[in-house]
Amino acid sequence: MKVTKALITLADPNQRSLPLQTLIDQNGRKRSALEVVLEETFSTGIEEVCLIICPNSQESYLNAAGEFANRIQFIEQAEPSGYAQAIKLGKGFTGDHAFLHLVGDHLCVSDSGLSCAKQVVETAERANASVSGVQATRESQISSFGAVGGRLVDRQESVYQIERVIEKPSPTQAELELTVPGLRAGFYLCFFGIHVLKPSIYDILEKTTALPTPEGRSLSTALNLLSQREKLLALEVSGSRYDIGSDYGLLFSQLALSFSGKDRDRVVTGILELLASKPHA
């Protein structure tokens, strides 16, 4: 299996300005959040990238895409009918091929030589299966994410066979259905915002998006069904993801980028000076 296309969802009208925010990347360059996401995507070697956006936002995204502007396509989601629906719109673009999917409001910083997206793509290609990037997350935060339960795949470090997917579980549900051998107590595998999906997801999305309940809007519902029909793996990505839409999300994203780049000392010094001058709130 070879992954050649990528879908990035940016269609939530409440978050349309997030990818336009400016950050300083690891190399000290000023870039929009969208550019950082696109760089992550193209780092995998994929050449065809499509953005699912809300109506009338194409121009501002094109401006924010910087050097990647002429390498991306757009599909508009006419109505804010949900995340799962947005991915379903990509069917015409990805056709019968497995594709990489990233959420546009998450930034990731890899801890290894490979970018986070590349780690997921390589695992999917090697296993010839759909793969979701995951990150061990404390139970106090799991109500913000989709989470998976499963077991380690033999002889593969950090790769899990997914048996159950629940969107924004309560800790009680998580403890009952999402425990994963080998994880620390109180930690669960939550989505990283990067997936490689085989085209079979579209048949499932057809059904789940037809549901009138909130579950129909969630990708987790479809992934749960997918896990019961075919092999769906989870890769515990070597890196961290940051939700720029959450409280202080942009700040933490910026700090994470700076701490892993050339300006680390400068930023650390700045923070220490700030702390020293304001030791108490």
Partner: protein, 1110 residues
């Protein structure tokens, strides 16, 4: 270790025939030496055995050997001192260390009955501690529960309130109310208590229950049958937790996390336990000193709080329908739904969710210091279900430590298995009632556990029989054979249940069953025992065409029988008949939004009066909203219209009732010779600190030492033929009479219930329930027949006991009452006082107390803080009048009972009718073995003493002083008078309070004779003179206050007493002492003693002393 030990083989064998051998059969042929050797092996075995249940079984075997087997062997030494060190360790729940200390003492000084009694207690306590710890550990580690113990800071709180609960709507713009309705559960089989956690976890195959969820209404009171339990939750605009129980009529507002863990501060402990167990305020936050506003900011949003309301529609406590567990379940469910811990905010729960609710309810019960069985949350499930223990498998937290899982398996018996017709037949035949009795079932559950683990052969057979009954009952239900079902349930009650625990039944229940049988004959199909003990929730099964008549009959008859027995048995309320229906949905949630966001009517009756009394400007938005919603609900066009008239009724205080009660109390005091002057003097001395618990003690400079066996007459050895002859002659010549002290109510026996202990028919001899008075009279009758003599028998009484005892004698012993039974009524009375903080603290802090397990200890501390506040608020040493008048008075100690006999003319009357009387045998009502023993009487006669007291070798339970040599003089001393608690452990002998009195010498001591006792004034002066020479003790007693629907509170109150044994303190008074066998001297103080009283042969021994006349 000897692998061939039959004891160890019994514990470890996989072969059921070997494993289920009873302890009795193993011990049968063993000598003292053999038993001690087996005990040593069991001790070594339990130290290294990894399996929890094997360990616990070994502990129960060791308890049985030391409590029942060794003491029953002839020649087992009975004289030794109790170990103070071991006692202190036991009180501090350091049982393991206590056992080692006792074993080491046994090595040094040899085995004895006294040491065995301490060891038995320590083994027993360690066994239950081990079992309870295991259940708690398992509750904590049950999947779905563990996160709540990890969370220690509000910023880590993982729960979020569902957004829909924050959307205001309706004409008054109010937050929606989330409502949970839950059924109660009936146990269709009485599972032979197999739903005790310990039992289900050790013997999952034997833990089986058929359990039905039911909706209820009180027949004749309620208009509809509905799920009786309701829990409500809504958001409020204040960052607090407001809890309200409409049944208990109480509400509270909490602002700090730690207040949620203070269970006993008010009546809302159950609601708090639910808030904790649901994860809203998780147990991991306990002691964190965080504010609830911070927690709620994480869960709901800034400035918001929650209001949680419970309502059980006035279903009485003690209904045996597991109301409190299911209420806990409903409250936990509503909190879980609100915080997204269930798939759906409304509708029924799914199976996984129900199991989590059940596990959390167990957790909540543990937190609240109470406990139920594992079937109790059955009301959360729908319809009829089979609940069965499940074997623990690899991966379960219970695996390797117990054979079964904590949580059982629920198999719903849907309509495809028990069809609609059968369900209808069941509902049409069954009359469900609450008999009105409320009893503590805790001791029963301990007895069941112990009997299960030691496999008493009779009980084990009965348990297996009860198990077979379940299969038969399921078949009956499937086939709609309700008549058969009734027959089986009756057989189950009178067969296996009686065999396992005879105390399951009582005279009230059996009389009712007989009444129904007589009235309905073949149309009465059977009796159904709902669980625990009978007398509370019960069922009577009728031919359907007689159900209505049955309901009417039982309504009337239960009340009649209650009135007959209410002095003898603890009734908490008037009996009621229920209407019921099977609940087919289980716990169900509903969102009440907009104009439908209404609480139950009683909520408004509780909260609106205080809102109306406040200044309109100070009214909160929530109060305004509630008023508007209530205004809507009283509109004439509402389908279930609320009544404004009821609310207005609530606004007016009930003054009349209080005045009536006060009048009754004054009248009672007047009638019973209350001495106001003396009372005021006592109060002022108490307030000044001149009397009090600390002042009961004799001077600490007194030297206290033990009395040697050679200084006493030993009646435990072979009989002295000379004494026996002297005694026999005296009895034959009619020189002896019996005085039974029956003035007290026996507050320990009845736990302050205010019923008369002497009339409690606690045991069945020759097929009839017998009370203490019946037994004492049967002994006297036996002696009369043996010696062909007339023996007068006096029962001393007080204002509390006189009339009930008289009525009992008239009803059951009228011949004797006409001939030789006398009542000596008390003419002294005290008015109880609210205790001082000083005495409360002395009782709790200066006197060594049994430490409880962790959660119960917390509860107790919280209760005690509340009681100190109560004492201060109501006034220390103020008159205790806030209860039924009879609960405010107290008898003034058994010293007065003999002087009263003189004062009220009873002695004169006896002497007139039988002038040859020279001796009295006086004893406590609960000393059942005290009989007219010819040898002891002969010894007393020849010793020429005024008073001869009987003492016996102490066991651990015999605390409260004894026989001592104080500054060289042998006398009796009360425990509360000993200068140091450790002094108690210097003493070998315990006072049985049985004494032989030389009538003429006693009169002489009082300055009286057979003639002058007819002179009232002379007698009064003589009694006062001696009374002044005797110490007065202050004691704290527990008294129950009943309120609401079967609710009870227990308060400690101060009272005063003088004690008969203190006659031995008077230097010019001649007393003698004899050691008597334990079976003669032991007292039945507590109902929890009953089972071992039967097991150790005491009950049979008493029977040998009696001749029954019916």
């Amino acid at each position: 270790m000897n692998a061939s030990s039959p004891f160890l083989a019994t514990i470890t064998s996989e072969d059921a025939a070997l494993r289920n051998r009873s302890l009795d059969s193993l011990c049968e042929a063993l000598s003292i030496e053999n038993l001690l050797s087996e005990a040593a092996q069991l001790e070594a075995y339990r130290q290294q055995e990894p399996s929890l249940y094997n360990r616990v079984r070994a502990l129960f075997f060791l308890h049985g050997i030391h409590r029942f087997q060794l003491p029953a062997r002839n020649g087992y030494p009975d004289q030794a001192r109790l170990s103070h060190q071991a006692h202190e360790l036991i009180l501090n729940r350091r049982f393991e260390e206590a056992i080692q200390a006792l074993l080491s003492e046994m090595k040094t000084s040899g085995a004895s009955d006294t040491l065995s009694s301490s060891l038995a207690h320590a083994y027993h306590s360690l066994a239950f501690q081990t079992l309870a710890d295991q259940v708690r550990q398992t509750v904590r580690s049950t999947a779905g529960n563990t996160w709540i113990f990890r969370m220690g800071h509000h910023l880590d709180h993982p729960l979020k309130l569902r957004k829909s609960l924050l959307e205001k709507s309706g004409s008054n713009k109010v937050y929606p109310i989330l409502k949970e309705q839950t059924a109660v559960r009936m146990d269709l089989t009485h599972c032979a208590w197999s739903d005790i956690f310990f039992l289900g976890m050790d013997y999952p195959e034997g833990a089986r229950v058929l359990n039905v969820s039911v909706d209820l209404g009180v027949h004749g009171r309620d208009n509809e049958i509905r799920p009786p339990i309701e829990a409500y939750l809504r958001v409020i605009e204040e960052p607090i937790l407001r809890l309200c129980s409409v049944d208990l009529g109480t509400t509270t507002e909490l602002t700090m996390v730690d207040e949620v863990f203070d269970f006993a501060r008010d009546y809302l402990g159950l609601l708090k336990a639910a808030v904790i167990a649901s994860g809203l305020v998780p147990p991991g936050l306990e002691g964190s000193r965080q504010k609830l506003s911070s927690v709620f900011e994480s869960i709901i949003g800034e400035g918001k709080g929650l209001e949680i309301v419970s309502n059980v529609n006035r279903i009485p406590k003690g209904s045996r329908l597991a109301v409190s567990t299911n209420l806990l379940g409903a409250l936990i469910s509503v909190c879980m739904r609100a915080t997204g811990q269930t798939a759906s905010i409304d509708g029924p729960l799914n199976e996984t969710e129900r199991r989590i609710v059940a596990a959390r309810a167990i957790l909540g019960e543990w937190l609240g210091g109470s406990g139920g069985g594992w079937q109790d949350s059955g009301g959360v499930w729908p319809g009829i279900k089979l609940i069965e223990g499940e074997k623990a498998n690899v991966g379960d937290s219970e695996y390797a430590s117990s054979r079964g899982r904590l949580l059982p398996r629920h198999t719903l018996l849907g309509k495809e298995i028990v069809n609609e017709d059968a369900r209808k037949k069941l509902q049409d035949s069954l009359v469900l009632v609450h008999g009105g009795m409320a009893q503590n079932v805790g001791p029963i559950l301990e007895m069941v556990t112990e009997k299960y683990l030691t496999r008493g052969s009779k009980e084990w057979k009965a348990r297996n029989q009860a198990l077979d009954t379940i299969d038969a009952i399921v078949e009956n239900l499937k086939n709609g054979e309700i008549k058969e079902l009734g027959k089986r349930l009756t057989e189950n009650f009178f067969g296996p249940l009686h065999d396992i625990i005879p105390w399951v039944s009582n005279i009230y229940t059996e009389t009712l069953i007989a009444d129904v049988k007589t009235e309905f004959g073949k149309d009465f199909w059977g009796f159904w025992m709902l669980g625990g003990m009978s007398g509370g929730g019960m069922g009577f099964i009728f031919d359907p065409s007689f159900k209505t008549k049955g309901q009417a009959f039982l309504s009337e008859k239960m009340l009649e029988r209650k009135h007959q027995y209410e002095n003898a048995l603890p009734f908490a309320m008037d009996p009621v008949v229920y209407d019921f229906r099977i609940n087919e949905s289980g716990s169900t949630g509903t969102i009440l939004a907009g104009d439908s966001a209404i609480f139950p009517e009683a909520f408004y009756q509780l909260t609106i009066p205080s809102a109306l009394r406040s200044n309109p400007q100070d009214m909160t938005d929530a109060q305004r909203g509630d008023l508007r919603q209530y205004a809507n609900a009283i509109q004439p066009n509402q389908p279930k219209r609320y009544s404004a008239a009821d609310l207005i009724g609530r606004l007016l205080p009930e003054i009349q009732q209080e005045t009536d009660d006060n009048n009754n109390l004054e009248a009672l005091l007047h009638e019973n010779g209350f001495d106001r002057e003396q009372h005021e003097q006592i109060r002022s001395e108490l307030l000044a600190g001149r009397i009090g618990l600390a002042m009961n003690r004799v001077a600490s400079s007194a030297t206290i030492s033990d009395v040697g066996r050679n200084e006493l007459y030993d009646a435990t050895r072979d009989k002295n033929a000379d004494f026996e002859q002297i005694g026999q002659n005296a009895i034959r010549q009619g020189e002896v009479a019996v005085v039974t002290f029956a003035a007290g109510v026996g507050s320990r026996w009845t736990q302050g219930a205010g019923v008369v202990k002497s009339l409690h028919p606690f045991f069945s001899y020759q097929g009839r329930h017998r009370n203490f008075i019946d037994i004492h009279l049967a002994k006297t009758h036996c002696a009369e027949r043996s010696f062909e003599s007339r023996i007068p028998h006096v029962f001393t009484t007080s204002y509390l006991t006189h009339q009930p005892i008289l009525e009992h004698l008239e009803r059951s012993h009228s011949d004797r009452l006409r001939d030789s039974a006398y009542l000596s009524s008390g003419k002294s009375i005290g008015l109880r006082l609210i205790p001082t903080e000083r005495d409360l603290r002395f009782a709790w802090e200066e006197i060594a107390q049994q430490k409880l397990d962790e959660q119960k200890q917390k509860m107790q501390e919280s209760v005690r803080a509340a009681l100190v506040d109560w004492a201060k608020n109501f006034g220390e040493a103020a008159d205790y009048t806030d209860n039924l008048p009879s609960q405010c008075l107290h008898p003034v100690g058994h010293w007065y009972e003999i002087p009263n006999l003189i004062k009220n003319g009873t002695l004169a009357r006896i002497l007139e009718q039988q002038p040859q009387i020279k001796y009295l045998l006086a004893h406590n009502i609960d000393t059942l073995g005290a009989s007219i023993d010819a040898e002891l009487l002969g010894w007393h006669i020849q010793s020429n003493a005024t008073l001869s007291f009987e003492v016996m070798s102490k066991r651990l339970e015999d605390r409260g002083g004894g026989l001592a040599k104080i500054d060289g003089r042998i006398r009796l001393i009360e425990g509360l008078a000993l200068p140091h608690e450790s002094d108690e452990f210097k003493l070998t002998y315990y006072n049985t309070n049985t004494s032989w009195i030389n009538v003429d010498k006693l009169l002489q001591f009082f300055g009286l004779d057979r003639e002058s006792i007819k002179n009232v004034k002379a007698v009064e002066a003589a009694v006062r003179k001696i009374a002044l020479r005797l110490p007065t003790y202050l004691t704290l007693k527990d008294v129950k206050k009943r309120w609401g629907e079967g609710q009870e509170d227990i308060y400690p109150v101060s009272q005063f007493e003088k004690l008969w044994g203190d006659m031995t303190t008077l230097p010019d008074f001649e007393s003698n002492f004899s050691i008597v066998p334990r079976q003669r001297g032991q007292q039945l103080k507590d109902q929890a003693q009953l089972d071992s009283w039967v097991q150790d042969g005491s009950a049979d021994y008493i029977n040998t002393l009696c001749t029954w006349t019916d």
